[in-house]
Homo-oligomer: 198 residues x 2
DNA sequence: TTTGTAAGTAAATAAACGTTTACTTACTTT
DNA sequence: AAAGTAAGTAAACGTTTATTTACTTACAAA
C-alpha cells in the first residue's frame, strides 16, 4: 500500500488558512485550494468528506486545539488571580501574533454559523474547553477574590479585549507606528484585572 | 418614468441580512437572494454595481450607520465618564438584541477582508467613526479621570466585551436559562469602568 | 520480483454562480 | 390620450463551483 504523503496533507491545511486570511472564507474554493497546494482536488477528499467537513476539521484540529494549548502553556490554575490572567494574556498574544492565519479563522468562528456550531459542539462533547481556566475562575470566586459572575461573563471580560488588541496589532503592522506594544498590553491587562478583582 | 418600488429595495436588504444571519455570508448568492426577496436578479443590479458593491453598501448604510446612531442616542460627550460609558453600553445592547441580523453582519466585518476594508475606509473618509466617543475619551484623559491610552486601546476595552455578551445573549435565547440579563450587563459595565478609571 | 492496494492525478460532471440580454410594465410628462 | 422612459421580469449567458469517475503511481507484504 502506498503510504500517505503527510507533507501534502499539511500543505492543504496551511494553504487553506493562508487563503482564508488573505481573501476570506467566502473566497476559498476547493479547486483554488487544490491548485495552490499543488494537489489534485480528489486528494482533499481522501481525508475529508466534503467542504464543510474540511472546514470544521481545519478549525478544530489545526486552529482551536493548538490555540488552547498555546493559551494554557505554563498556566497553573492555582496561580494568584492576577498572575494567572497575565499568563493567559501573554500566551495568547504571543501565539496569535505569530499565527495570523489561525487568528483569521478564529475570527470567522464568531461569524460563520458553520464554525460557530462546530465550536459549541466541541465545547459540549469535549467536556469543557479551557477547563483549567474554568476551574481557576471557580476557585477564585469561592475564595472571594472576584465576584460571583457566570463563567461565560468572565470569558467575555477577559478574552475579547485581548482579541481586539491582536486585531489592532495586525492593523498597525501595515502602518508607520505600532501602538499595540507589549507594555501597552500589560497595562491593559492590569486594567482589566483591576476591574474584576474585589 | 416608472418610479422605484422602495419596498422592494428594502426587501432585498432585509432578506439579505436574514440569509447572512441564518446561513452565513458564504452562503448568500445573488440568485438565492433575488428569489427570497421575490425579485428578479436584474433588480438588484439596478441599484448595485455587483455583489461586492451590494455587500459593502448593505454593511455601511444598512448596518454601520444605523448602529452608530443607536449607540450614540442621548449620549452627550460632556457626561460624567461612568454615566457616558453606561449610556453607550445600554444603547448598544438595546439596539443589537433587537437586530440580530445587523449584529451578524457586524461580526462578519471583523473577519471578512472585504467588509473589514470597507469599515477602515469609511473610518478614514467619514472623518471619524463614533467621533463623539473619541472626544469623550480625549476629554477624560485630559481631565485625568482615566489613563492616557490610545483611543483604539479604549475602544478595545469598552466594546468587545459588550459585543461578546450580546453574542452570548443570543446563544442563551435558545436555551432554558438566559444568563445575560440587564442586571448582569450593568454589573459588568461597572466592572469595566472600575478598571479603567483612576 | 511480483502483487495488492490505497494514495494520488487529470479530466469530467451536473449544479449553482454572478451577471446580462431581450423584453414588458407602469408611471410621468406632454 | 399618447409617448417616453426607467423599473422590473424571465430566461439565458459563460464561468466557476463542489464533487466524482476512470485511471496511474508508489510502496509494503508475499
Amino acid at each position: 500500500m502506498r503510504p500517505k504523503n503527510l507533507e501534502k496533507e499539511q500543505a492543504i491545511r496551511t494553504v487553506a488558512l493562508d487563503i482564508i486570511a488573505k481573501e476570506g472564507l467566502e473566497n476559498l474554493s476547493m479547486q483554488k485550494l487544490a491548485k495552490a497546494a499543488n494537489v489534485s482536488p480528489r486528494t482533499i477528499y481522501i481525508k475529508y468528506e466534503n467542504k464543510e467537513d474540511f472546514l470544521v476539521k481545519l478549525f478544530i484540529n489545526e486552529v482551536l486545539e493548538v490555540y488552547e494549548q498555546a493559551v494554557l502553556k505554563d498556566f497553573d490554575e492555582h496561580m494568584e488571580f492576577a498572575d494567572g490572567v497575565k499568563k493567559i494574556w501573554m500566551n495568547t498574544f504571543q501565539y496569535l501574533k505569530n499565527n495570523r492565519p489561525a487568528f483569521a479563522l478564529l475570527q470567522y468562528s464568531r461569524s460563520s454559523p458553520l464554525l460557530n456550531k462546530a465550536y459549541q459542539q466541541q465545547h459540549i462533547q469535549q467536556g469543557q474547553f479551557f477547563a483549567p481556566i474554568h476551574r481557576f475562575i471557580a476557585a477564585n470566586i469561592k475564595a472571594g477574590t472576584i465576584k460571583n459572575f457566570h463563567f461565560d461573563v468572565y470569558r467575555a471580560m477577559i478574552f475579547p479585549v485581548l482579541l481586539e488588541l491582536v486585531s489592532e496589532y495586525f492593523d498597525y503592522t501595515e502602518r508607520p507606528k505600532q501602538i499595540i506594544t507589549e507594555k501597552v498590553l500589560q497595562e491593559c491587562c492590569a486594567t482589566v484585572i483591576k476591574g474584576i478583582m474585589k
